[in-house]
Every structure is written in C-alpha cells, then in structure tokens.
C-alpha cells in the first residue's frame, strides 16, 4: 500500500484520541461502581513493594554521587558546607521524582504493556468484554490508582535514601559534620520545594500507568506485537516524564514565585 501522509496523520490523531479516552475513563471509573479494591491492593503490592529495591538503590547512589560531584565544585568556592543543601534541593525537587519515575516506568510500564498486550493478542480482553466486564475498569483503573499512589511514597523514600547516600559521602569522604549536613539539608527546604517534589510523582504515576495500559491494550500482531508495545511503552513514558517535568517545573515556578 502506498504511503499516505493523510492516513499517517489520521492514525496519529486517532491514537491520541484513544489514549485520551482511555486515560480519562481510567480516572473517571474511580467515581462510579463497581470498584475493584482487591485488584488495586494487588497492583500496589506489585508496583509499590515490588519496586522498592530499585528505588532504594537508585535513590541512595544518586544522592551519594550528587554529594561527591557537588562537593568538587563547592570546594572551589570554599563552600563545602553547602553540600547538604544542594543534595537536599536537587533530590527533593528534581532527581527523586524523576529518577523514581524513570525506574518505575522501566519496570512497570513495560510490565503493564506486556501483560495487557498478551491478554489482547490471546483474545482475553475480548473475553472479558464478552463476559460483561469493562477492561478499563478491571485492568486500567487499578493500575492507574496503584501507580499514582505508590509512586508518591516511593519518591519520598527515594528522597530520604538520596539524602542518606549524600550523608554517607559527606561524612566518610568529605569529613563534614553529619549534624551540620542534616540540619542544612532540612532547613533549606521550603513548602514550595516539597510541594513540587510530591506533585510530580503523582503526575508521573498517571503517565506511566496510562501509557503502559494504552500500548498494551492496542497491541496487535502476536508476540512480536507485544514486544513492540512493551518497548514503545517504556520509551514513550520515559520521554513524556522528562518533558512533563520541564513544563511542570516552569509552571510551578511561575505560579509559586521564584524558588
């Protein structure tokens, strides 16, 4: 078939429309019966508890390397004592949410896309519809709720582990006073910083779950199609997290004043 620019454009517009409808319905289902609390808890366990090791490790090492790198620059200005502040601001406002989001995207957007994709190509999604159950309600909404909820807490944990990683470096390699490190890290944070750092994971959770489910539910073409859907879900959710991060940061800076 000859390549048609119109068909290509139509296909993309249709994909955006379908994604928008799915994401809206995934959220709107929360406000009407039936709700699948059992599935939500199960997904919280898979997404939240299951992601703990990678989030803990990512947070710790990011904080540690951040302390190491920033100390190098700060030492030139004789401001090594600001290490705690820098690690704290960077982790809470930016690196904690973004890196946790990217890690969870790599682990769970792929998991959702492959699981739902396999169900799609083996007609299990059609079977569910045929049995009178809405797959968006039964499959998408629990994943969406669980990811938004758990990413929020995983980010808090990641921030804390990042600060801990920084403190280990500050104490062992930089010979800084731990009390000073933690006090400056704590005191530099304002409500606006914490608000920004905790709003982002909720948005990133929404992106991860909706993108993962969308690519899974639109998979076609057997196992190869499932593989393609999985890759696309990770790539799309990761890029979208970084793009949304930029816009949200700028928006919050405008709304809440220079931070």
């Amino acid at each position: 078939m000859a390549f048609s620019l119109t068909e290509y454009a139509k296909g993309n517009v249709l994909a955006v429309q379908e994604y928008s409808i799915l994401s809206w319905r995934g959220l709107a289902n929360l406000f009407s019966q039936p709700r699948y609390f059992g599935d939500i808890v199960q997904q919280m366990d898979t997404i939240g508890v299951g992601s703990l090791p990678i989030v803990v490790l990512t947070g710790f090492f990011t904080g540690a390397v951040l302390a190491l790198q920033s100390a190098n620059s700060l030492a030139r200005f004789g401001e090594l004592s600001l290490t705690g502040q820098l690690v704290s601001m960077s982790m809470v406002r930016e690196l904690g949410p973004v890196l946790t989001g990217l890690m969870v995207a790599g682990r769970n957007a792929s998991g959702m896309a492959s699981e739902l994709g396999s169900m799609k190509v083996t007609e299990q999604i059609d079977a569910m519809r045929a049995l009178g159950t809405d797959p968006t309600r039964k499959l998408v909404t629990p994943r969406l709720t669980a990811t938004m909820f758990m990413l929020f807490f995983l980010t808090i944990l990641s921030d804390l582990l990042g600060l801990t990683g920084g403190s280990v470096i500050a104490s062992l390699l930089l010979r800084l006073d731990l009390n000073q490190y933690w006090t400056s890290a704590w005191q530099t944070l304002r409500y606006a910083d914490v608000f920004m750092g905790l709003l982002k994971p909720v948005l990133f959770g929404y992106i991860i779950a909706t993108i993962g489910c969308y690519y899974g539910l639109s998979a076609k073409g057997g196992t190869q199609g499932v593989g393609r859907a999985t890759t696309q879900a990770v790539v799309a959710s990761s890029v979208l997290i970084l793009a949304v991060d930029l816009f949200v940061t700028r928006l919050l800076m405008v709304l809440m004043g220079p931070l």
Partner: protein, 272 residues
C-alpha cells in the same frame, strides 16, 4: 441449572442488511438472517468468509459499517459499550482459542461472571462445580489453563460460558484442531445444551461432520449420552445451516436441504 426464559415472539438474533469491511476488504455484504428461540444455526464457510465476525458483531465486540443487529430484542449496533456490558451477561461465548484467563485457575475462570456479580461464595462454589460437572472436568478446579489439553480448555470455556444460564450461546469453532474423540465429546455437550436447556445458539464450524451430528443426534437424558435419531421419529433437531461465501449467504436451510442442494458452490463445499 434452570432453563433460560424466553419470549417466544422475540427472535434471539436478527441481522438486517449488515455490511462490514476491513480496509478495502469486504467481510460482510448486506447480510440478513434470523435465529429463532431455542434453535441452533450452524455457520459454515471457508476461512475468511466472515463467520467469526458474525459472532463478534452479535456481542457488540465489533461494529457494522451499516445495517442493524438485534440480540434478545436490543439493537446491539446502536448501543454504547457501557450499555452492552449488561446485555453481554445474558450471552455466552466460547472463543476459538478458548481465551481463558491464563493467570487464573480453572475455578476462577469459570466463576468469573459470578464473582463480578458478587454472588455468595457458597453459591459460586456450587455452580462452578455444577458447570464443570456438565463438561466432566470437575477434577480440574485448582489447575491453571496451561496445565490443560486443548480439548479440556475448550470444555472449560464452555463451562465458563454456560455458568450464568445464558439465553443465547455463541460457539466459535469449538472443535477446531481437536482429535475426533474430543470433538465428539464437545459436540455432545453442545447437543446436551440445546436439548436439555433449550438454549439458542450460533455455531461456527469448519467441520461438516460436527454440523451433521448436531442435526441428526439428540441427547438422551436417561442414558446421559448423545444418540442418533432413529428412523421414523418425528424429531425436529431445531438445527439449521447457513453457508457463507465472500460475506454473502449462499445457502440457508436444514440438514436434508443442504444435502440435496443443487447449488454448485454447496455441492463443491460438501465434497471438500
């Protein structure tokens, strides 16, 4: 299991001038037919003639480009997806590849609809056992679909379809790819469902012998087995045939009519 309640004045499934195409390919071309209550219509035709599509259209899983489809008095082709979920609970379907939920046990697969309807656990347990007893697989409760043979998976799919006493059943090639013995077991189940519970059904199949077995056998409840209809019996099997070719109906009638048809395509099809 209780008999499904029917309104005799209402047709179970009605297709009115239904057209459907995928891209450039015409799948159904102004197709019209009716399925009476308590009867079985066997849909025959070569691969790609639109048989499975008819089942998916009946459930509202696909939408026609034009024409109207009525199932149990509801115009499926004009209903929204959210409205269709309620109607679909009155219809059972057996997919060609069974489409069992592979991460759930046989018990949970069969109980799926009842769990969704929040039926009491004791009631679910009883009805799951009853449905699995019907397909003679009550010993597989705790197994997973991957641990079953192809024929067993089809039988579990039948149990899942009949557990809520549907008013109409849709079978998509339930015997495809199975050995003759397993195929006969499954055809016997379909005959049992037709004769004991009087459920209306659309049966898609490639196997002519299954279709003729459906038309020439009855279920004897006393002996609990399918038997051939003896000569001289005034027996209406309530089974008719519908042959499709390139999205159009080329034949509609009973077993005797199809066997004696003068239509060249039908003759060729029967000798394939």
């Amino acid at each position: 299991m209780t008999e499904a309640s029917h309104n005799s004045t209402e047709k179970t499934v009605v297709f009115e001038n239904v057209c459907l195409r995928f891209d450039e390919q015409v799948v159904l071309d102004s197709l019209s037919f009716e399925l009476e209550h308590g009867t079985t219509k066997v849909l025959l035709g070569v691969a790609g003639s639109g048989k499975t599509t008819i089942l998916k259209l009946s459930l509202g899983l696909l939408r026609p480009d034009s024409g109207r489809i009525f199932v149990l008095g509801n115009e499926v082709s004009a209903m929204r997806e959210t409205e269709l979920f309620e109607l679909r609970r009155r219809i059972g379907i057996v997919f060609q590849e069974s489409a069992l939920f592979d991460s759930q046990s046989v018990e949970d697969n069969v109980a799926f609809r009842l769990l969704e309807e929040k039926v009491a656990p004791e009631e679910i347990q009883r009805r799951v056992w009853e449905a699995l007893r019907f397909v003679e697989l009550e010993h597989t409760l705790k197994l997973f679909p991957s641990e079953l043979s192809g024929g067993m998976r089809r039988r579990v799919a039948i149990a899942r379809a009949i557990i809520s006493n549907p008013e109409v059943l849709l079978y998509d090639s339930p015997t495809a790819g199975l050995d003759p013995v397993t195929s006969t077991t499954i055809v016997e189940l379909l005959v049992k469902q037709r004769d004991v519970y009087k459920t209306s059904a659309l049966l898609v199949t490639h196997r002519l012998q299954d279709a003729f077995t459906m038309a020439t056998h009855y279920f004897n409840s006393e002996k609990n087995k399918m038997l051939p209809v003896p000569h001289g019996w005034d027996w209406d099997s309530k089974t008719t045939f519908l042959v499709l070719n390139e999205g159009k109906i080329v034949f509609e009638g009973d077993a005797a009519e199809i066997a004696n048809s003068d239509n060249e395509y039908i003759k060729e099809y029967l000798t394939l």
